[in-house]
Symmetry: C2
Subunit: 292 residues, 2 copies
């Protein structure tokens, strides 16, 4: 599904939020750990319950591959189950894998995650484009062929992102702008109804000025915006990610939502309900700022 489908889901729900499904042992309530035979089973139960609790108010989920890979091979079965369950609930599934390689290797990654025969039912994947367009193109080809999308890292949300990404080039662009221009150019032949191509960009909420610059610069690029909440970005900071019609971006929150039960004092018995409550709070926070 392209970004038109995601944009429509966002507008139908009035909520440009994606929930990061980043399970760790510490985030799973004791009752779930006790009732499952293995940690992998506990992850499956946790993720399914979270998805069931939010799918009618949140348009998308973003499983972070690292947390599944950390369980070894069985973790990939958890990832498979989680993607399939989210897809079955009608959610847009963005696999946060930050993969990147060239030629036949990039094609193998694209087969793994962006093919319609892939083990993982995902709509989109995150890509690290430092290698250049040789890396982006095989993923993009798969996305076009299989009606999927990708997000390329442009300006990431972490404190040291400027070390490479903020470098000023001899033609007075920043490296993240060079990456952005490449994304905008490569995607020119796949613009949908709302004008967005199948190649999105990751631009962090923690750099609101850069976010605004990038929104202006890349009118046909859909943004995935990490850094809201736990990393310090607020609703005002993410506002610059949206175009004048309030379109073109989705804002991620992970631990603040899936670990919301840690702040309710109920020992985790309410983890799904707490996640829904926090997702509703975030929705309202974004609505207030974006005037939905």
């Amino acid at each position: 599904m392209n970004f038109d489908v995601l944009q429509r889901k966002i507008e139908d729900m009035g909520n440009p939020t994606v929930v990061g499904l980043d399970p760790t042992r510490a985030l799973i309530p004791d009752a779930l750990l006790d009732s499952a035979e293995t940690l992998a089973d506990a992850y499956i139960n946790y993720n399914r319950a979270l998805i069931n609790a939010i799918y009618d108010i949140v348009p998308a989920v973003k499983p972070q591959a690292a947390y599944y890979e950390a369980l070894g091979p069985v973790g990939m079965r958890v990832l498979q189950d989680t993607c399939a369950h989210a897809a079955s609930r009608g959610m847009y599934v963005i696999l946060d894998a930050k993969r990147g390689d060239i030629g036949s290797t990039a094609t193998a990654y694209a087969e793994a995650y962006l093919s319609n025969e892939a083990a993982y039912d995902v709509d989109s994947i995150t890509i690290n484009g430092y290698i250049g367009s040789d890396c982006i193109e095989p993923f993009y080809d798969a996305a076009k062929k299989n009606d999927k999308t990708l997000f390329v890292l442009a300006k990431t949300s972490n404190p040291s992102s400027g070390e490479l990404q903020d470098i000023t080039t001899s033609d007075r662009r920043r490296v993240y702008e060079v990456m952005g221009d490449l994304i905008e150019k490569l995607g020119a032949d796949s613009r949908g109804e709302y004008g967005f191509s199948r190649i999105g960009a990751v631009v962090g909420a923690t750099y609101p000025e850069e976010l605004r610059i990038m929104r202006e610069r890349l009118p046909h690029t859909f943004f995935l915006v990490p850094g809201y909440g736990a990393q310090g970005g607020g609703a005002a900071d993410v506002a610059g990610a949206f175009d004048k019609n309030g379109r073109g971006a989705i804002v991620n929150s992970s631990r603040a939502i899936i670990g919301a039960w840690k702040k309710t004092g109920k020992g985790g018995l309410d983890f799904a309900e707490a996640a829904r409550d926090e997702a509703l709070r975030m929705r309202q926070d974004l609505r207030n700022e974006l005037k939905y």
Copy 2:
């Protein structure tokens, strides 16, 4: 194991080669496909036989994660078996995964691949550092703690690598040099007997001039050099990766070795022998140039 161990293996064998284990269906001889119940089993048999055929003449293997991930969850069992088998034969195992993320996510990747309790028995992993030192540090911390290493992408071997990596900065460095300087700086507290830190760099054989510049610039950084053979780099091109003592680099070849049987006209019955013959040919090619 740090790069001292790898350097010693290289010198003991007189061979600075790493063999890329990048299985695809097309590379597996028919006889192996026919005798295995599943493609995954065929991959396992193929990789084990290749390892058995070269472990006494080649110091290291580099499984490329993408080809295993392309099989879905079961592919990770193949990867697990391959890493374990190579390690049991005394080979240095470099997982080519080009992972990269920040904070707890990077820590989860490091747990997945660089912990001593990890499902995968690897000595080293490749990392994409576009995100900055926030990305490199968690992997580096795990490497120091668990006696392992990592390789960070600096100047990659593909045609479009210059789009981002060759950009000239306002202080007249190239972006790949900025990445190199960061690698050299971050690794300063883990230099071994031969002077190399636990953070290596990926620098492609297809850019011999840049390779020489980087060797000069990063005296304490061990290089992983892709691009020999199939991508067009020859022994003369990789020579610049080595320091004046002939140390500090390992050269990758993948398909030319593991698919060498395709050129012998024996239908693949000789795939392991053909791989060994090609590995010996490459060793001689490198020895002639490096005057081992």
